[in-house]
């Protein structure tokens, strides 16, 4: 598969411009990060008598992996369904672009802001807690937690993007696609919650296993998405 970088970049830039002027999309980009930053901070600042020792075993940062799961799911759901709604899909597909280039451009336009937003959210949380609660910060996150965040964020974002785009190619309208996409991403988020609250004990072996599983899912996701993107069905509505 050979991708034309200029065509991929054209789709990505167009998407980013469009997102930046689309109010529902901007809301989605900021709503989840705010929820996932404010809620853990409130729980820490509201609680009294917390000690680092008492908090050891909790992995609050894992809860915040909801951001790279839910933000891309919302954005990616708009990718194809939004184009169909605006009747812009046909003119784009009439150009020399291949479906792989179109999908990579779309995916990058979701992946880049989602990962950046996620890293900003994590950084804000770490900085605020470290400065305001230096006594309990070591109990809430260590170097291993931060590495997990850095590694799992792109893996989870990619997974959510493929799920979102897959639903978007099949859904009739963007809103339905967004709801289904978020719903489909929730099981992965629940695993993150179970790990965050130590219901499933996190370990290095488990992290490697889950990381490998996600990587395989991302690769398989790409291979499944490409044939799903059928020009004929998308243009004619035939099934």
């Amino acid at each position: 598969m050979k991708l034309n970088v200029r065509r991929v970049r054209a789709i990505m830039l167009k998407e980013l411009r469009d997102y930046s002027r689309n109010r529902p999309i901007i809301w989605a980009m900021f709503l989840f990060p705010v929820i996932f930053t404010v809620q853990p901070l409130i729980s820490i600042f509201a609680a009294t008598g917390l000690t680092a020792a008492a908090l050891s075993g909790r992995h609050e940062l894992l809860f915040m992996l909801g951001v790279p799961i839910l933000v891309p799911a919302t954005l990616a759901a708009y990718a194809v369904a939004g184009e169909r709604l605006q009747e812009t899909l046909e003119p784009v597909l009439e150009t020399p672009i291949t479906r792989e280039e179109f999908l990579v451009g779309k995916a990058l336009a979701v992946f880049v802001p989602s990962v950046i937003i996620s890293y900003i959210v994590f950084a804000v949380y770490i900085v605020v807690v470290s400065l305001a609660k230096p006594d309990i910060a070591p109990g809430l996150f260590g170097a291993d937690d931060i590495i997990v965040q850095i590694v799992f964020t792109p893996l989870l974002a990619a997974f959510s993007i493929w799920v979102g785009i897959a639903i978007s190619t099949r859904a009739g309208d963007p809103r339905t696609a967004q709801q289904l996409s978020v719903l489909s991403s929730l099981p992965v988020f629940f695993i993150a919650i179970l790990l965050a609250f130590n219901v499933i004990a996190p370990s290095l072996e488990l992290a490697i296993f889950l990381g490998a599983l996600l990587l395989i899912a991302d690769i398989v996701g790409w291979r499944l998405i490409v044939p799903l993107f059928d020009r004929e069905r998308l243009i004619s509505g035939a099934h």
């Binding site: 830039l13 167009k14 812009t88 003119p91 150009t95 020399p96 243009i235």
Partner: protein
């Protein structure tokens, strides 16, 4: 844009042979065959649901044909050639399909990149000048009227300097002035040698612009120059008006060998079916004068492309 000769040694710009497209049991178009020369303006007419847009989408590689074969811009219509065919053609769909939240320039920038155009700024400038939109380059497309959006879509189709340009209802929803501008632009493109495949409901538009037309109603009903189609379908008719009704019109017209049929339309108006209207008109005039009639006028009865279209579509529908 580069200039191209109208006479071309490359073979046809589009060649379609027994092309068929079905969606399950539904036939979109069936067993369609035609050829279009480079530089030709070809009109594609037909009622709603006749398969016109599906034909354009098939030739534009968006849909795969169910049967038959075609070449577009010199390339066989195969999935393998899809990218290269799309590089050589441009399609302006009926709905402009612009990104409403993006400006005119941003829309065209995106498509210039998708076509891999060198020096896109110049090309965008030229395309916008062609459609008279140079002063709206920074306007968001969502803020433009339907007519202006249609023009942006036309500018987008011109960006890639296509060999073959498919225009699907390009004047739909445009006011008469804007429609005239589009007609003028089509005329300019024809001068440059661009092959134009024009899908339209406006028959006067087709009659005025097209070198040849095809009439489709799932199957191809007829194809040819508008005048030829008219002559093939309708006998030539002379309309004769005299000051007073003739006393014995049968005696006057029956003597003229070229008049195959005549009828009195109203009062002193007669319709004569003739083999060659130009050759027969002087003969008829002399015969009328010899019979003592005062002739007000003798004129050719014109059949429009609309008459041809309605006749063929009605025949196809069994009416």
């Amino acid at each position: 844009m580069t200039s191209r000769a109208t006479t071309d040694t490359r073979g046809p710009a589009i060649s379609v042979s027994h092309l068929t497209k079905r969606f399950g049991d539904r036939v979109a178009f069936d067993d369609v065959s035609f050829e279009i020369a480079y530089g030709e303006v070809f009109g594609f007419l037909g009622p709603n649901g006749a398969g016109k847009t599906t034909t354009v989408r098939t030739l534009g590689t968006l849909l795969a044909p169910t049967a038959g074969s075609a070449t577009v811009a010199g390339l066989p219509l195969t999935p393998h050639n899809g990218v290269e065919i799309r590089r050589r053609i441009a399609i302006m769909p009926e709905s402009p399909g612009l990104y409403q939240r993006l400006s005119v320039r941003e829309n065209l920038d995106c498509f210039a990149d998708l076509y891999g155009i060198d020096e896109p700024r110049d090309r965008i400038k030229n395309a916008l000048e062609s459609v008279g939109l140079s002063d709206r380059v920074n306007d968001r497309c969502g803020e433009l009227s339907k007519g202006l959006r249609q023009r942006v879509a036309l500018a987008r189709a011109l960006l890639s300097d296509p060999e073959v340009l498919f225009l699907d209802e390009p004047t739909s929803g445009l006011d008469p002035v804007a429609a005239r501008d589009v007609h003028d632009l089509i005329g300019q493109l024809r001068e440059r040698g661009v092959t134009i495949f024009l899908t339209t409901h406006r028959l006067e538009e087709a009659q005025r612009l097209c070198d040849r037309v095809a009439i489709l109603n799932t199957t191809l009903l007829s194809i040819g120059r508008p005048d030829d189609l008219r002559d093939k379908l309708f006998a030539q008719t002379l309309k004769v008006v005299t000051t007073e009704p003739l006393a014995e019109p049968g005696a006057v017209f029956a003597k003229i060998a070229d008049v195959t049929k005549w009828q009195q339309e109203a009062g002193s108006t007669y319709l004569l079916t003739v083999r060659d209207s130009r050759a027969t008109a002087p003969v008829v005039t002399r015969a009328l004068l010899a019979a003592g009639a005062d002739v007000v006028s003798i004129s050719e009865q014109e059949h429009s492309l609309e008459d041809v279209y309605l006749q063929l579509v009605d025949e196809a529908n069994g009416q």
